[in-house]
């Protein structure tokens, strides 16, 4: 199984072209980014349908072009469908188009208590007020809820079993809440979401950018940042002692926190200051703690249970079983990213994470990269001598959920907040649940309205699915021809460092002497032949024009770059042969 379309690839693309290396990217799907993509709501529904279909056979009609295969070459067939998305389930809490209220927090609790080994990864989004004539400040939250499980393949079945249970839970709450719905006239309807579909994008992956992470550095260095806009994540929340609380992580948060005593404030600040430069104080953690877990280490630091939980689950975001140095490194990374762009370490791209691969594609396209959508690679043509057998490996599954709710998990002055919520594992050894709650100004959820004054948010719509995490699979386990490189797709981490590292690594393997993603030149430094208009701008125009014609899926977002046409299919096959041979 070869994963073809992933973030690292995009990053690589750019570069090929800049170094005047012929570049050709193809996607099986009609959209960019593979499992990294973002969709409009209707796009997501289409994606769901696509992934519910079970492909019975991968038989390919290869005869047409069999004649082109030369002597000494052999065909390596590839799957025609991407089967990496599993267990897709949708729950639509509606009745006659009206949404029913399902208590998100209860739902969350139920999931936790059902002994599931997953990481639930919720993304919840709050919406901008919307002129509705209702005097209460109207608000509506659209929540994404990708839930993430860190499981081995064999555990996967339990997660499959889980889904019906969850559905029952859902039912139960539907019943419980029915009366309240009847009393309070809900104004969000399913058809409304469909109608507003193009106004927001929903991500398949749930990640954030560390302000000092490698993706941000790369975006800046390569000038790709000019194609994207970001919002700062405003709050870091956690679920503790039965309620959602804000995690004090910056100096200002600690100062302003009402939940901590002054002594706790001091202990927390002291510990965090130590973490920033922990390498300089090896005496604090070396020796005994080298081999022990970070959570054990925290216990020796005079921190209250509250504080230790904050640090372990919400700041370091490591598992109970992770070692001290790993926890310290993660905490340091978190802290170093603080304050660069705001009061939390994270950035979120407007229009969703799917923008990032597209931005890299766009830069690549500006310098002549060609993209071909809706055409997967059917097979690889390989030299007989390097041909070897297929591979076998284990991988983990990421459980994701997208939830649309009507309000934020934790009430705040502003509704335009992006929050990261971590729900600590109920038992040791279980993974934690991470939720990213988004708001409408991040262009990832709907503007809407809701007049119910409730303490807890209600789930309006939910999508659950599993995505495999190949990041821990060694390349050697694939046993592929040596000039074929494998990218792992989205990993389960919160940041993007893993993908960037991989992209850079693969790039250097292919082009050992080239710089990875060098800065794109400033438009004014480009010398144009003749005195026509600067080609860069006209290039954009061209693309945008061609775009308008071809998409039934076009959203308000005009950033998409689509350059492919269907009759390029032949080229696609040829290009495979040309991809890097060193």
């Amino acid at each position: 199984k070869i994963n073809t379309n992933i973030l690292p690839k995009k990053i690589k693309c750019i570069f090929f072209k800049k170094s005047f290396i012929y570049n050709f990217s193809h996607f099986r799907q009609a959209y960019y980014g593979g499992n990294w993509a973002s969709f409009t709501f209707s796009g997501l529904l289409a994606w769901i349908e696509e992934n519910k279909v079970i492909f019975l056979s991968d038989c390919l009609e290869i005869t047409e072009w069999m004649n082109d295969i030369k002597e000494g070459e052999e065909i390596l067939l590839l799957n025609s469908s991407d089967k990496s998305i599993m267990n897709v389930e949708v729950f639509n809490f509606k009745e006659n188009d009206l949404f029913l209220t399902v208590d998100l927090v209860e739902d969350l609790k139920e999931q936790g208590s059902s002994q599931r080994k997953d990481d639930l990864f919720l993304t919840v989004a709050a919406a901008e007020s919307f002129e509705s004539g209702i005097d209460k400040s109207p608000d509506m939250y659209v929540n994404e809820h990708p839930s993430e499980a860190l499981e081995h393949n064999d555990v996967c079945t339990s997660s499959q079993k889980k889904n019906p249970e969850l559905f029952l839970d859902g039912k139960k709450y539907v019943n419980v809440c029915k009366t309240s719905v009847a009393e309070t006239r809900k104004t969000i309807t399913y058809s409304q979401i469909i109608r507003e579909s193009r106004r927001f994008n929903i991500d398949l992956v749930s990640k954030l950018l560390y302000s000092r992470g490698s993706l941000v550095d790369l975006l800046i260095k390569s000038n790709v940042s000019r194609y994207a806009e970001f919002k700062n994540v405003n709050r870091i929340l956690t679920y503790q002692n039965g309620s959602v609380e804000q995690v004090p992580c910056s100096r200002a948060d600690v100062f302003g926190s009402k939940q901590l005593t002054v002594v706790e404030k001091r202990m927390l600040m002291k510990f965090l200051s130590f973490c920033i430069e922990y390498e300089q104080h090896p005496e604090e953690y070396a020796g005994n703690f080298k081999e022990r877990t970070f959570s054990d280490f925290l216990k020796t630091k005079n921190l209250t249970t509250n504080l230790a939980n904050f640090i372990l689950h919400s700041i370091a975001m490591v598992l109970d079983t992770d070692l001290t140095t790993e926890g310290l490194r993660a905490t340091q990374h978190f802290l170093q990213s603080l304050g660069r762009y705001g009061n939390t370490p994270f950035l979120f791209p407007l229009y969703g994470l799917g923008e990032i691969p597209q931005c890299f594609c766009r830069m690549c396209a500006v310098f002549g990269g060609i993209y071909c959508l809706r055409h997967g690679i059917r097979c690889l043509v390989v030299d007989k001598e390097t041909r070897s057998c297929f591979f076998f490996f284990f991988y983990r599954l990421i459980s994701r959920a997208v939830l649309i709710t009507d309000r934020s998990l934790l009430k705040a002055d502003s509704e335009q907040l992006i929050s990261l919520v971590t729900v600590p594992p109920l038992k040791n050894g279980q993974p934690a649940v991470r939720i990213i709650e988004l708001c409408s100004s991040s262009m990832t959820c709907m503007q809407g309205t809701c007049e119910v004054e409730a303490e807890r948010p209600n789930v309006l719509w939910a999508l659950y699915f599993n995505m495999p995490d190949f990041s821990s699979v060694e390349r050697s386990s694939y046993d592929l021809p040596n000039n074929v490189y494998v990218c792992c797709g989205p990993d389960s981490g919160l940041g993007n460092d893993c993908s960037i590292q991989q992209a850079e690594h693969i790039f250097h393997q292919m082009f050992p002497d080239e710089e990875f993603c060098p800065p794109a030149p400033n438009p004014e430094d480009i010398v144009y032949d003749g005195d026509g208009a600067p080609p860069e701008e006209s290039l954009f125009k061209e693309h945008e024009e061609s775009e308008v014609g071809d998409g039934e899926e076009r959203t308000l977002d005009t950033k998409h770059l689509v350059t492919s046409t269907t009759n390029e299919a032949e080229d696609a096959q040829e290009s495979v042969k040309e991809i890097p041979s060193e």
Partner: protein, 566 residues
Amino acid sequence: MHGRIKLKTTEEQAEQKQKERLKKLHFYDTTRSACFAKRKAGILDEEGLILSGQLLAANPDFATLWNFRREIFLHLKEEKTPEELQTLFEKELSFLETCLRVNPKSYGTWHHRGWVLDHSPSPDWKVELELCSKFLQFDERNFHCWDYRRLVVQRAEVSPQEELEFTHKLIGTNFSNYSSWHYRSTLLPLVYPDTECRVGRADEEALLTEYELVQNALFTDPNDQSAWFYYRWLLGRADREETVSCLYISREGQRLIVSFSHPVNVLLPKDELILFVDGLPLRVTWKSPHPQLKRSAIWICELPPNTINAACSEHNFKVHWQDGRIQRECILYKGRSESWCRDSATDQQLFRCDLSVEKTTVLQSELNSCTQLQELEPDNKWCALTIILLMRALDPLGYEKEMLQCFQTLKATDPMRTAYFDDLLSKFIIENSILKMEYAESRVVDLSKKNLTNLCHLDQMQLVTHMNLTSNRLKSLPIHLSMMQCLEVLEASDNEIECLEGLVQLPRLQEISLQNNRISKICDLRPLASCPSLILLNLKGNPITEVPDFQSELSELLPSLKDLIV
């Protein structure tokens, strides 16, 4: 090759930049000349605004051009209709905003903005307030903007309550902000006035919530100074009222000494001091104890002969100060050689240092939390220093031992400021010694072996007759020592004294012991010539004893000296 992008070389780039620079420079020069020519010719038109605007956009610190613009505006004010003016002023404000974006710390721009609004037909100060908030969001320490904000707040009549909330918000984002804390200290007394109407103090309840706020900052980052300074302000007390604190009369010396709570200059008409003897005003000449003290806490007058009659059963002395608003009275009975009337340091709780007279329980709980913080942060000097101040506010004598310990910590953690801590400790030790002396109702003060580096509060010791300064680290006897007008015996052996400038005109000083000090020149002893009663001087172990002819020169300088020990 098709699709290949050609880039300019670095030389080409540099050349192009150079060209652009020259072009800019030329433009700047010609525009400037044009502006100056116009101004010289007195042409105050809108073109002048455009030209100066082009220059100021690039260089907002060109004060002459801002003046030029103001001249133009004043001129146009007479020519244009109010509507035209309004658009002109609005245009100017948006121009100024772009200038501020380029340089948010330009004096000229902020000042001009204030001027424009003051001259605008309908200024919108609320918009200005938002502008300030925005700029303070970018840089909460921009004092130009803070200054401007104060102007806006005044003009827009923003309530102190709103401003207090604004500072709260800023402190919430980053509490390392002196400007905000200081602003709070000016706003709190306005929003929550002190019940006893003391100027500059806030109501106790309001102070309590402030303590909580500032404690959060202290525990979050104890190394941040701004919060500690605000904390000290919170714990501070109102300034002592100006008053006459003591009146002293000496029969044999025929002199009268007046002490004040603050250094004053009674020779100035506004601080004129009038003496009444037995109800009748008496013209006297006031002088300070030392010629160098222009402002002094102590003023002395020689009484004219026969003012005091030994046969008279009692004499009533009274001083009026500040037009009689402040008075003090003292009676000298028959047979008494001296008499005084004073506020004692113990009654006034003078040395509960600069801290408040608030409920002791509050101070006690503040002390407890600081001690708690110190346990967590044993090396934090701000904490140690505040603990000292709190202990002094609570009970200076009771906490003496702990105080000494805290000073040890301070000196260890911040060795660069050892001298400052030594001086501060000297001050506190002297305060304690004064308290002890007053409780004992004695006029003898023992300050020996205290490691003193500095002498202070000498005005509080004007009645002291014997002072022991033996075995300290004093380098001089400062001019304020001349306030100790009753001093008879001074022991100052085993110090590092080089200079005796304070031993001036001390009428009763008889014995001075200066063994093992660093007096090296005969001229250093000259001040002693003004002490008429001096009969014993111990100079053993001083370099001066090595000087040839020293004894003969000394007897010339101090003819009345009976015993010289060398």
